[in-house]
Symmetry: C2
Subunit: 183 residues, 2 copies
DNA sequence: ACGGACATGTAAGCAGTTACATGATTGC
DNA sequence: GCAATCATGTAACTGCTTACATGTCCGT
């Protein structure tokens, strides 16, 4: 099965919310989808060109003084492609978790070093959890109907929070297992 | 920061457990690390060659009849590289979660279709959870000292289980949110 | 005057995948 | 006799990242 380029769908989806420039797409995604989907700067501009050539988006140049801003809008053809993607069944993404790989090989290192790794990871994930919590408090304290997207954005945030909590739980379990063996 | 090839560490780690052929490494990883780390067949053989050229592994040919099996062993140099990797701080892996991306753009689709997606995902993840549960029952029912690795392999399994449980929790939350809105 | 954000892009490289290719052995 | 598994490898591609390149605007 051929691996298809999924960046296009992320971009089309962003443009379906509102017309945006390449730079704005990058910024918007950094502030919202970054936790589960990243696009690097260098991939956005070429992809927008491809999509324009395919007739999935169209653009117009706007100027603020001399500074150009190329604003892209999705076309019906683009919307059609997006919808056919979103309705397709989704497989579970393969992931590479380097921390788990190191834990898998943990027997090669002293228990103290593993514990140290776990404590350090715990701090990182707790920090992440706090970040999600504060976004939840600031942005989603009231679920209103002012934006049809908001509910779904909230769900993805909840996923981040629940994942972080799960990892914290797992780390604590590992720490306890190691401490028990150490005695 | 240059992105380094991490396949090498997975391979070195496997060889640190015991000498293995390329084919065996593939099979072993499919049966153990697959949930958090995959190596494709085509990447193993070239990487073993590179590692041998670097003096990190050495190989000998074994024969069962006419069928060759090239068994690789890690060298002190290889072990050194592996250990320096495992002790290095680990960043949280970036991940691309296509399902979450679709949920993020969920407002473009009917609620019924989203619910359908969630139910289907729920089934998949529950199946995964059952798989982990059965491995836990069959392989880790008693934690014994017969294998220093076993404890760490158990931890990675627990991670899979806890992750699956967390995703199930999240999906149910999403289903409830959508049902509440639907009324 | 200068750093940082705004804004768009290109070039090179690499990691990893898919597909292809070959042949031996085992089990039904 | 045939399919599945064992076993090793190459070629081509592609998606993505890093690094580079250029210039504007705004705030201090």
């Amino acid at each position: 099965m051929k691996k298809v380029d999924k960046s296009r769908y992320a971009i089309l989806g962003m443009l379906l919310i509102e017309p945006l420039s390449g730079y704005q797409i990058i910024k918007e995604m950094q502030g919202s989808t970054d936790y589960f989907w990243q696009e690097s700067d260098a991939s956005i501009y070429p992809m927008l060109k491809i999509l324009e050539k395919e007739g999935k988006v169209k653009s117009r140049s706007e100027y603020a003084g001399k500074r150009e801003s190329r604003v892209f809008e999705i076309t019906p053809k683009g919307k059609k492609e997006f919808l056919s993607w979103i309705e397709m069944p989704t497989e579970i993404d393969k992931r590479r978790n380097e921390f788990l790989l190191k834990m898998f090989f943990g027997a090669n290192v002293s228990k103290e070093k593993i514990l140290q790794k776990l404590f350090s990871r715990l701090e990182t994930v707790q920090e992440l959890k706090r970040k999600f919590k504060s976004i939840e408090r600031d942005t989603f304290s009231k679920i209103s109907d002012d934006n049809s997207h908001k509910m779904f954005w909230y769900m993805t945030l909840r996923s981040g929070l629940i994942d972080a909590q799960a990892e914290i739980k797992w780390i604590n379990e590992c720490i306890n297992i190691l401490k028990r063996v150490n005695k």
